[in-house]
């Protein structure tokens, strides 16, 4: 009825076509991923200058932010205590030059979120206006000293007592 060769030939051709379809599909998939990678790289290469510019900007920002944060070398506890002591001296100097009087102070070192935080609780007595000027000086001259909290109260007739908590955020470097 039906010639064997024709029918067999058709079956063989179908099988071969299926195999070819599979090969084509695999190659297509591989090429697709290669093309994606290729496009990605072309895109990156085209934007190379922009990336360099971004990096420069970031470095500038890094430099800018370095004044908001102190860098301390990795060391032992004694080294940190020394740094803490240096900063309190600097802080007391700032207070005194602002016509304010330090009544008492307490300091401690904390480590949080990968930062080393030098914490100072200081009680200051002086004129309210001077106290505000002191805040302003801190913001201008010592950007790395942050006022975490404070409480100002009237003290005697024309004076104020201020309980101040300041913090210095440090990052350890090699």
């Amino acid at each position: 009825m039906v010639k064997g060769n024709g029918f067999k030939g058709m079956i063989i051709k179908i099988a071969a076509a299926v195999v070819l379809v599979v090969i084509a599909a695999v190659l297509f998939y591989v090429n697709k991923s290669l093309m994606r990678e290729n496009k990605k790289m072309i895109k990156y290469i085209k934007n190379e200058e922009a990336f360099k510019q971004d990096l420069d900007n970031l470095r500038k920002s890094e430099g800018l932010f370095s004044q908001y944060i102190v860098r301390i070398k990795k060391g032992n506890k004694a080294d940190r205590e020394k740094i803490k002591s240096d900063y309190i001296n600097e802080l007391l100097q700032l207070v005194e030059t602002s016509n304010l009087k330090v009544d008492s102070y307490r300091s401690q070192i904390e480590e949080k979120d990968g930062f080393v935080i030098f914490k100072y609780n200081i009680t200051i007595v002086g004129d309210f206006v001077q106290a505000i000027r002191f805040f302003s000086r801190l913001q201008k001259e010592a950007k790395y000293i942050y006022i975490a909290k404070y409480n100002i109260e009237l003290y005697l007739e024309k004076s104020t007592r201020m309980a101040l908590t300041v913090e210095i955020v440090g990052v350890e470097t090699q």
């Binding site: 990336f51 970031l58 006022i147 409480n151």
Partner: protein
């Protein structure tokens, strides 16, 4: 059967008139399809090839040769359509051999199926004799099933039917003791000669009478190679159809495979190009990668620092906003900033005004009196304590 595209001749054998349904006559060397439409027994269609122009007299000649088969009327339909079937025409051919027209084909396939396949196909083969009443007489047919031979006689006089039957049985030499089955549309056993026939001859005749209200149709007998040919043709057609499908699919598959090969080749080409490109790009991309990596590290550290710094309140800004709200008439006796909130304590002539003024600022989340506002009888100013909830710092 009717075909409105071609002229149709209606021939009435009783009156001998030929009516043309359309004005146009058949063209020269045309084919005529003679359709004999017969009640109850046969439907046949014959294609006649004309050597020259078919004249009305030719049609009459054909008709006269078909008298025994003639029905009340017959249709002659002109058609240019070619038919290939030729097997049947030997027996018709001898009828038409003296004429200028030859039977070319027998187009059984144009017989309505509803008529061809009605009834039992085997039933007709059991009969040897047929007697049918026609308008102008009787038609007596003898089929010799074994040799596909037949003979037919037309008899106008009913009383002579028996004689004709005897004539036919002698011609075909029916043996003694044989029983011949007859199909008739009237009961001829009532004829007075029939008894004599049965007595004088040693064979028997069994008569089956078709009732007029049965409207019975039969298959054509075997020597009409209708069913067989039709079946064979159908099988051939099927075979040809399957072969054609396979051949066509083989062709299609070859094309598909060729296309697939082209697709694969293109893919391979693409693969080589992409690979080369990627290898070239990788070198350049390495330096970009370093840039990106450095930028990513810096950005990560910066974001971390920004987040950390943002947690510290911008206390000078808050102080400025609060002092603006207080105005010159008010004075502070305490001011504290702690844990996301500011508490201010002081004296004012309009504590509610301070609260309203502070609420206008978008730097604070919530502002409310912490304690009840009090007023000393010795002073015009009232003491207030306001709690300010700060907004969460955004990075």
């Amino acid at each position: 059967m009717s075909n409105s595209q071609h002229p149709i001749y209606w021939f009435n054998p009783v009156s001998g008139e030929i009516h043309l349904s359309q004005e146009e006559l058949p063209a020269k060397k045309s084919r005529l399809y003679l359709v004999i439409n017969r009640e109850n027994l046969f439907f046949g269609a014959f294609a006649l090839q004309s050597k020259k122009r078919v004249k009305d007299s030719n049609i009459l000649n054909i008709q006269s040769h078909f008298i025994p088969f003639k029905s009340d009327f017959m249709n002659i339909i002109y058609s240019a359509e070619k038919r290939e079937e030729k097997r049947f025409f030997s027996w018709v051919g001898h009828l038409t051999s003296t004429m200028d027209v030859n039977v070319e084909s027998y187009f059984y396939d144009e017989i309505p199926e509803s008529l061809m396949f009605k009834g039992d196909p085997g039933a007709l083969r059991n009969y040897r004799l047929f007697v049918f009443k026609r308008v102008s007489g009787f038609e007596i047919i003898y089929f010799n099933g074994g040799t596909d031979d037949f003979y037919s006689i037309f008899e106008k006089d009913e009383s002579k039917i028996v004689e004709k039957i005897i004539l036919l049985t002698r011609k075909f030499s029916i043996g003694k003791g044989e029983t011949v089955r007859m199909l008739a549309d009237r009961d001829i056993s009532s004829l007075h000669d029939f008894r004599r026939l049965m007595d004088d001859y040693s064979f028997n005749i069994d008569i089956d009478v078709i009732k007029s209200n049965e409207n019975k149709y039969f298959f054509l007998p075997d020597f009409f190679p209708v069913k067989k040919k039709f079946s064979n043709l159908s099988q051939n057609k099927q075979m040809r159809s399957i072969k054609n499908i396979i051949r066509q699919w083989n062709r299609n598959l070859t094309i598909i495979m060729a296309l697939l090969l082209v697709v694969i080749l293109l893919n391979i080409l693409g693969f080589i190009v992409f690979k080369q490109d990627n290898a070239r790009f990788h070198e350049k991309f390495a330096t970009i990668g370093k840039t990106l990596s450095a930028a990513e590290t810096i950005e990560f550290n910066l974001n971390k620092i920004k987040r950390k710094i943002a947690r510290y309140p911008d206390h000078l800004l808050y102080l400025k906003t609060i002092s603006e709200a207080l105005g010159l008439e008010s004075s502070l006796i305490a001011y504290s900033l702690d844990e996301g909130k500011i508490i201010i304590e002081g004296y004012s002539t309009d504590s509610l005004g301070i609260l309203t003024q502070l609420r206008k600022s978008n730097r604070f989340k919530e502002i409310r009196f912490k304690t009840t506002v009090t007023k000393n009888v010795y002073s015009q100013r009232e003491k207030f304590e306001i709690e300010i909830i700060l907004k969460e710092a955004k990075v």
